[in-house]
């Protein structure tokens, strides 16, 4: 909440990011001159809701899809940067004993698949199914957060579980990715999380947003310079052990501010991609209508 | 209209309107009760006894007619008309003393004076040792004595009692009858007492009204000597007297016939 001098930032557990060093070291608090409260969420949609209610001002690493869903429904959010890219950390794991691979993926029709609904994982699942020629409307999608999805997959309640974060490691004990991150990227299914702020917060406290982005940028740079130095801190903040954090971080990319300004990202790529995501969600019957243009919700001025 | 009656019941009728019918609970009832009189009311179930009492107490307004107490028309309940109910009308969250002092406290009477009154009444009803007990710890008979004392604490001119001893066992009841009689003699209050017991009605009424139902009305009125007698000789002697037994007989058969006529044999 924004009680005068507190800023609340939403983040995910089991989602180790470079800036968590700054979270733990309270670099954010110092640079922004306020108390920064970090609240863990189970999915990006709840982040949107909390931001709509005014309790959260910044979401670090919100999924792209919840953002699109939110702004399409009139939620006053702004995308101000890219948090992480992570092709390999958001996957659909299929049970080994199901006997299903990319070649016979259409057998998924009529089976139960666990996924958080209405976020990046869901979007990627839809795109993956589309790519593999599976009729998504015939797959029995069960709304589950990653941790629950992992349990359901391990127990065999679902044949495939889609999740992000540490849950994937647990899932891999009983299965393998239907498509790897690399395979997905190859066919244009990109995966990244974003930094969003509420419109009010951006217009009333641009200096705080700026400071937040600056600290993040520095933390990313510091991490890239010496990944191992910060590993213990990051793992602790993410609620993971060091091995798990290391293997996940290995697949994370933290694009620099300069990169983000480029045409691939906030220079135009993101805006286009937003529209693409919206179209997919509308087509799959999950969203009523998309907007014609999402560029007003993207603001690269804080990079 | 100049009148000497403490309670003047002037041609009252009471009709309860039910969704599909009307009940004539009282039909054109008139009755005068003199100051300092004790009157008992007897009658089969549903003949309007409670209705009559509630009208005098001011809880109900009659469909027709009016009741005057001490010359003033009754418009609502008032502290000059005390009530004693069958049971369950004590405030169980209060102690004996607090129950008795309830009236004076509500009326804002002087505290010291109230304390004296309570002390005196506790003595009269024989509950001095129980002053600070919560009332729910008392036996039924004791509770009714508290109810009597609570009513007397406000020093009402008229006391209306609706089967005050109805829930007590036979022995306790006889004792309580003596207490009521003593109070009547000592305080000179005007008392109207409803009862189901013929014996009690005979014993406690200078006058006795027998009511009949459908429509509720006064069927017969008796003037009786027993209440006054009982002030002089032991209650048991009064009740064993041949006059008493004969009166009891007469009234019993009267009510018996009344019931038979109304309900057949299915009471």
């Amino acid at each position: 909440a924004e009680h005068g001098d507190t800023v609340t930032v939403a983040y995910f557990l089991e989602w180790p990011t470079a800036n968590q060093v700054a979270q733990i070291d309270k670099t954010y608090d110092e640079a922004m001159g306020v108390d920064v409260e970090w609240r863990a969420f189970g999915n990006g949609n709840e982040m949107t809701q909390a931001m709509v209610s005014g309790d959260v001002q910044i979401a670090y690493s919100q999924g792209f899809v919840p953002f699109v869903v939110g702004v399409s429904n009139g939620a006053p959010l702004k995308l101000v940067g890219i948090a992480v890219t992570y092709a390999e950390n958001d996957l659909c794991i299929i049970r080994e004993d199901a006997g299903i691979t990319q070649d016979n993926a259409s057998e998924l029709e009529g089976m139960k698949v666990a996924t958080p609904i209405g976020n990046v994982t869901h979007y990627k699942l839809l795109r993956t199914l589309e790519h593999l020629g599976v009729d998504a409307s015939k797959v029995d999608l069960v709304q589950m957060n990653p941790a629950d999805a992992a349990i359901a997959l391990i127990r065999g309640d679902v044949v495939m579980g889609c999740a992000f974060g540490g849950a994937i490691d647990r899932m891999k004990e009983v299965g393998f990715p239907l498509m790897t991150g690399a395979e997905q990227e190859a066919v244009g299914i990109n995966t990244f999380d974003i930094i969003t702020v509420t419109e009010d917060f951006a217009s009333q406290h641009p200096e705080l947003v700026q400071a937040f982005m600056d600290v993040t940028e520095e933390a990313n740079a510091a991490y890239k310079a010496d990944p191992d130095a910060a590993l213990a801190t990051i793992a602790g903040a993410a609620g993971m052990d060091e091995d798990g954090a290391r293997s996940m971080l290995a697949n994370f990319g933290f694009p620099s501010a300069a990169d983000q300004k480029g045409a691939n990202w906030l220079g135009g790529g993101v805006q286009a991609m937003t529209k693409g995501v919206a179209d997919v969600m509308v087509e799959a019957g999950n969203m009523e209508t998309g907007l014609d243009d999402y560029s007003e919700f993207v603001d690269d001025s804080f990079l | 209209m100049a009148e000497t009656a403490e309670i003047a019941i002037d041609r009252i009728s009471m009709v309860y309107t039910l969704p599909d019918s009307e009940v004539d609970a009282l039909n054109d009832v008139s009755l005068d009760i003199g100051k300092g009189e004790i009157m008992s009311v007897l009658g089969p179930s549903g003949c309007g006894k409670t209705t009559l009492l509630n009208i005098i107490a001011g809880f109900l307004s009659p469909t027709r007619g009016e009741v005057r107490v001490a010359g003033k028309p009754v418009k609502g309940p008032g502290a000059e008309r005390g009530m004693v109910f069958q049971q369950g009308a004590l405030f169980e969250w209060l102690s004996v003393t607090q129950n008795i002092s309830f009236g004076p406290r509500m009326c804002g009477k002087d505290r010291a004076e109230t304390a004296d009154t309570v002390q005196r009444l506790l003595g009269i009803v024989g509950l001095v040792d129980f002053a600070d007990k919560p009332v729910y710890q008392l036996s039924g008979g004791m509770q009714q004595r508290v109810a009597l004392a609570r009513c007397l604490a406000n020093d009402p001119d008229v006391i209306l009692m609706d089967e005050p001893l109805g829930a007590l066992d036979a022995l306790t009841r006889e004792k309580m009858q003596g207490l009521v009689l003593r109070l009547w003699k000592d305080t000179g209050k005007t008392i109207l007492l409803i009862t189901h017991s013929v014996e009690e009605a005979l014993f406690l009424g200078e006058r006795l009204i027998v009511m009949a139902p459908r429509p509720g009305r006064i069927e017969k009125e008796f003037r009786l000597p027993f209440a006054d007698e009982a002030l002089e000789k032991p209650a048991r002697d009064v009740k064993a007297g041949s006059e008493f037994v004969a009166a009891r007989e007469e009234i019993l058969s009267m009510i018996w016939d009344m019931e038979e006529e109304i309900m057949g044999d299915n009471g």
């Binding site: 869903v69 958080p116 209405g118 409307s137 029995d140 629950d148 349990i151 309640d157 019957g285 | 027709r64």
Partner: protein, 287 residues
Amino acid sequence: MSRQKPSGLAIWLGLSDNSFTRQKTVKFGDAAAVNSGRFYSLLTLAVLIVAWVVASAFELIEPFYWPSISGTWERLVKILGEGFRNTALHDHVGISVYRVLSGVFYGALVGIPLGFAMGLSSIGRGLFDPVVEFMRPIPPLALIPLIILWFGIDEFAKIFLLFLASLFIMTIAARSGVSSVRITKVHAAYSLGASKLQILRHVILPNALPEIFTGLRTSMGVCWGTVVAAELVAADKGLGSMIMIAKNFLQTDTVVIGIILIGIIGYIIELIMRRLEQWLIPWRGKG
């Protein structure tokens, strides 16, 4: 002093005293003198509806906080026509109701004999008391994590959760029903030559029925609350999951429709139970 009779409408609306209250001089504190106040109920409803219409017409509230009346209506028509996420609305309702009924059914199936054993025998009471006393204060919701671990997310897991929610309520209701039997009734039956089994069947069971029924009503209410939670965690169908998924898409209108449906169905369940009770246990409270 004869009085004019007020109009039937005024009485129905609660604006005039009815035949019962009319003759009372003191009404304050007299529960029987409080009428339905229907006029004011209608007033409340009118104010709420007008407020919604006005707010919708002038777009005073962002639709994701509270939907417009027309939007909600359209959404309702759409859901009724197309269903929500490929499932017809009545299927969402049906599956939730089915889960609740199953949970209550199994809860009663196990809980009633358990309660009888505990109320009738020292051994039964001793054996089950520790478990019942310990499990009772644990809200079924707190068990969701364990139940997911044990039974996964299937129908069985949900119904098991609801079963647990109703089990202890039913056990305690049956136990207190058994314990509340008047000893004179049991003695009367013995003196009439009844055997223990006959007493169980003909005296103790009917005597416990009212409390068992109260237990069923309570169970229904609790399970109806719990099914929403059970469907939050993992569900493709059911009113609870409908609300949760709609929430993810900020479809506040669907959320509101879901909540209203849950309210209405909860109310209907309560009404049916009351009717059933009047019909099955007419002697209730008349012993």
